[in-house]
Symmetry: C2
Subunit: 763 residues, 2 copies
Amino acid sequence: MMSVRSFLLTILLPASVYAQNGSLVQYVKPIIGTAKMGHTFPGATVPFGAVQLSPDTDTIPYAVDGKYNGDVYKYCAGYQYNDPTIVGFSHTHFSGTGHSDLGDFLIMPTTGELQMNPGTADRPQDGYRSAFSHDNEIAEPNYYKVKLNDHNILAELTTSTRVGFHQYTFPKSSQSHIILDLMAGIYNYEDKNVWTVVRVVNDTLVTGYRQTNGWARTRTAYFAMSFSKPFKEYGTQNNDKPQVYKGFWRKFDQNKNFPDIAGRNLRMHFDFNTEADEQIKIKFALSPVSMQNAVANMREEIPDWNFERVKEEGQNAWEKELQKIAINVPTKEDRINFYTAMYHAALMPTVYMDTNGEYKGLDQEIHKSAGFTNYTSFSLWDTFRAFHPYLNLINPKRNADMVASMMAHYDQSVLHMLPVWSHYANDNWCMSGYHSVSVVADAIIKGIYKGDAMAALNACVQTANARNYEGIGEYIDKGYISAEESGTSVSNTLEYAYDDWCIAQLAKKLGQTAIYQDFIKRSDNWRNVYDKSIGFMRPRLNDGSFKKDFDVLKTDGQGFIEGNTWNFSLYVPHNPEGMMENMGGKKRLSRYLDSLFTMHLPDEFFAHTEDITREGIIGNYVHGNEPSHHVAYLYNITGEPWKTQEKVRMILKHQYHNGADGLGGNDDCGQMSAWYIFSSLGFYPVAPASDEYWLGSPAVNEAKISVGNGKEFVIKAVNQSEKNVFVKKVLLNGKEVKNNRIKHADLIGGGELVFYMSAKKKI
Amino acid sequence: MMSVRSFLLTILLPASVYAQNGSLVQYVKPIIGTAKMGHTFPGATVPFGAVQLSPDTDTIPYAVDGKYNGDVYKYCAGYQYNDPTIVGFSHTHFSGTGHSDLGDFLIMPTTGELQMNPGTADRPQDGYRSAFSHDNEIAEPNYYKVKLNDHNILAELTTSTRVGFHQYTFPKSSQSHIILDLMAGIYNYEDKNVWTVVRVVNDTLVTGYRQTNGWARTRTAYFAMSFSKPFKEYGTQNNDKPQVYKGFWRKFDQNKNFPDIAGRNLRMHFDFNTEADEQIKIKFALSPVSMQNAVANMREEIPDWNFERVKEEGQNAWEKELQKIAINVPTKEDRINFYTAMYHAALMPTVYMDTNGEYKGLDQEIHKSAGFTNYTSFSLWDTFRAFHPYLNLINPKRNADMVASMMAHYDQSVLHMLPVWSHYANDNWCMSGYHSVSVVADAIIKGIYKGDAMAALNACVQTANARNYEGIGEYIDKGYISAEESGTSVSNTLEYAYDDWCIAQLAKKLGQTAIYQDFIKRSDNWRNVYDKSIGFMRPRLNDGSFKKDFDVLKTDGQGFIEGNTWNFSLYVPHNPEGMMENMGGKKRLSRYLDSLFTMHLPDEFFAHTEDITREGIIGNYVHGNEPSHHVAYLYNITGEPWKTQEKVRMILKHQYHNGADGLGGNDDCGQMSAWYIFSSLGFYPVAPASDEYWLGSPAVNEAKISVGNGKEFVIKAVNQSEKNVFVKKVLLNGKEVKNNRIKHADLIGGGELVFYMSAKKKI
């Protein structure tokens, strides 16, 4: 499937022993997913760090002449591997999203005549951007290095949680510059830049903030920028439309050496003389709250100018994160895939809180965290599936804090809703469902979240009863959303039904019978959009009849969000047996799944859906997008677990590899990677908020998962190989597992799961 | 001079006894100055209150088709007496300025079909505005009442320091509305509205903020709005340009009953059913810091819905303020003029701090006040002259806090400058000079400001050495500003020279000899722009020669700000004797002054200067603008104090009266009024930062000034009358005053100043 591999990172030698301690960082290739639609970024960051300091290869407008600019989609993470130039290095990036924002505070070092405009990729010499080559580029966890050819500057980046650390090695020049582009950004809507303030405090310290109206409607990012060397001059390019009243600001020359700067569209330059190989370093701290907090974050996290130490501390943090799972895998490529997946599954959500505990809430007020780390950027439609369950397994404290952050969001919400897709003190309500209830319920049911469980249940119930939100009112009244009400009426109904089941599970755990009864009933609503006459989920009209014109293959305009009914008809994760029964039993489901994975579809069937790409498709099965992530595991209930095993291994093999284009679709804030990790280990959380995992086929020979309190859960796959993908027998702590399921409680106590593998299916 | 008196507020009866205790508020007519160019507002406020809740009769754009809209000048305070309609009631207004801003949060109650646009003055029925009549209008301190004819609604307004309190009496209607116009504002520049957030917390509480880029470049006003009765519905009109990406916000109907609102150009409506004569009350609290602080301000200041009590408390505060000076005057008109002047001299600067002590600093950070009340809106070019000296006399604690506020501004200034014209955490640098040094020096020299005097001196010196600011560098280097450097080079040089003298006086007081020497030398720089050959101050070129083309009458393009050289040549308040000597001695100055007050000028000489109006002119003397405010007193040094006495009385009589058009020019944040108060009492601070007042001719029969610590300074004008304007003799505590000057120390100890008045000049 992967016809284009733009470069070969991997030496395909066997690597079938555990990696040495302290050496896992080397297996992380941040470049994976930076080509095509992976939408990952190659730059520097620490685990869940607030700063993602990374090169942007273009910063193009969202719309041109009032029309959507399709090319912008490529730049969700700012970087496209095949681009020839780097515009600069900005401090905030999503990882793997399908819509975007951020790209704040783009910095570019230059030499020669001052150029204040970015220029274009085909004529970089007309702007401050620079050509670069992958030959001169290194991307490691918390370290990025590149030669900027046009300026003869070596750029190196590292970070702490809240501070980006730049190290630029200049040539000898009396015209060395640092550009700070405060107009640049990712997904630059018209008028996205709402307001910008900059204060040049002295000749080495600059503070300010940038307020945007983008995917996050009301967002302010504060900064403090410190130079290792005083600049000799500085200036501002103000690109705002001139006003009739210019005011008494004219009393100053505001373009040059004027320290009190504000406007909508600003760029700045700081000028230096440099000797050959002289380094200019910049510490760039962020804060969600204020400039003074940004200064404090900088002083607390990086009090000196030791770039190497900061790089090492961040890489040590990564090493610690990666060592939570030790693996013995057949090839180095497997190891790289696995640890890069772990890396990608530890980038988001990001810390959104200053070192003093303050953060900006959804209510646009400053809050002080009550004993938890506040996180932001919850892509919940993606991450409730495997990512948050994965954190519950190896990062329970972080996931508990994420639930606490979601509860704070709820407490601050004037809509009284948990987050849908929230970032930077905003909810953008992207995608469908109210899947935070899945994350909340899963974390409480598994004993991870220790906060007020009744308050959490109440938040879930309130969210599920937000009648004005995307058809919820009708869904409550009629048991389904009508096609008249919503263009994604079927997928919404299906997703609400699963979410309702999560609430029911939480209510049951808390002994709230009435809530349980209400929501367990609602969780059956998937049945109301199933059309038995055609054997698919189907849009239903207000009058109860099914929509006439209906295409089971098309992804757009059929009542589903980013998927067709072939994929979405399988979306009853909380009651797959019921779904199967409805479809006509095991054989019918088996045939359905077989068709899904093998049927031939012309390209145009997915051409209209941004988040589904050719690379992410196997037959009609769409791995590159989330709704089908549990589907390969469904053969476990058709009596053909060997098909699950085969399919999972096929997906692991074909949808993930070591190239820059090594992801078959958006990584989606770690969800694609979490799928990889779980499936490689041989199990998957088909229905979060249950305590069950369904078994697949481990791709590791052996793995040790640190499950907390010093305990390890060991997975062994005896005789595992590329051919031996079928499971003969599974023993959990010596006892045979007969139903292809294990429980979370079995894992977190520590223990051993032994798969006996074979080249022959066990039928 | 006052040919147009649009109405008669005054009954011209003798009122030659002290008013009764507790009854001074009745003599304040806030309507004075609301016609023509007084630029005062008639609405409700408490002394120096953060809220000025007042009707706006139009809210017109600053520019039309890219050109300045001259009409906007009329609306500096939002209200023009001769306008037929009221658009609504907004919460922030400057008093008497010549440029403007504010007008935040315009509220209008309406009935009938919902109208979301303001409409026009000639067709009010097309919008939410309403016709009104002065017959149905009452304006008192902290109380404003008007009938809104188009809606049959009685509107009443009162305030506490930080909360506006609206009381609307509706007719019976199922279509009663409260409009909250978040686009409306005073001096509406294009794109002035930067961002607005509104949160409908519940059916009686709304919070939010409004961020503007107007005269204050970066300004945010936060609010909390509470209704006495739940609204039944609400909605938003969003007038923003539609974006290509509409986002998932479309999941909600954002126009109706949607509580999470943000955008650039928003209007809101809240809908009610009302019975006949049903009152809907609104408390509207402001904060410079946050919505939650606004809520706290509201709860602290007005915990209930008792409109009458709040009105009474505010009027009691005014009574207390007014009682600081008791007067016995010949007529009720005099009394109204006097107490209205005291009223106008207690409106600005305004409290800019929450009840918890937090405020937004010039550095855009949140600060907590260290033991002082933070004030904002310092129109220092105006107010350093008589207004701040006036506060030093009767409101020393407030003036000390104002100096503390200016010092906080300095500490937060990235330019390391004291305020020039500052408002709402910004400096707009309007007008010329660095006159905060006069206020600071005056307050320290008079023992008012008890803070760190050395830090204050340092702030003054730093400000005076801000080389990049309006010619200061050249001024320091050459002793004058060249015509090439600045269009107001002469007035700047003159004003800097006076300011430098203030710094010298402060340095002397603090024993800082080197600083004293430096600045006393600089204070002589006025000599460098005096052209002896023509006997006027005159622009000088870079090469030292005087500018060739020069018109001594014209106000524009001649090197002066808002004045001609006839007026400005007298601006050496710190060394009038030196000035007189330079001009050729007493006789020459006397003739000069005589000419000034009597010469005939065609109208067009002042037509180009916004802040100078026909009404404010006596001959070529311009009382309506500030640079000449000390001029009438200069006859004291020509040996003709009787001319000072005559001129002062003439100005008192002709430049101030009880009509809506009763001010001869902008009140300028209390400066015009402070001139009236001082001059009525018989003395004036010709050179603040000296401890001297110059004597004139008291228009009171008697006055008692509370000068603190229970002490009174009593002024008696024996035989004073409209004819007996000449001073025969003056006794200070029984001792004759021979030089027509008294000292501040003489006043604040308490005592008695007796003027013996006569109809005959004492030559």
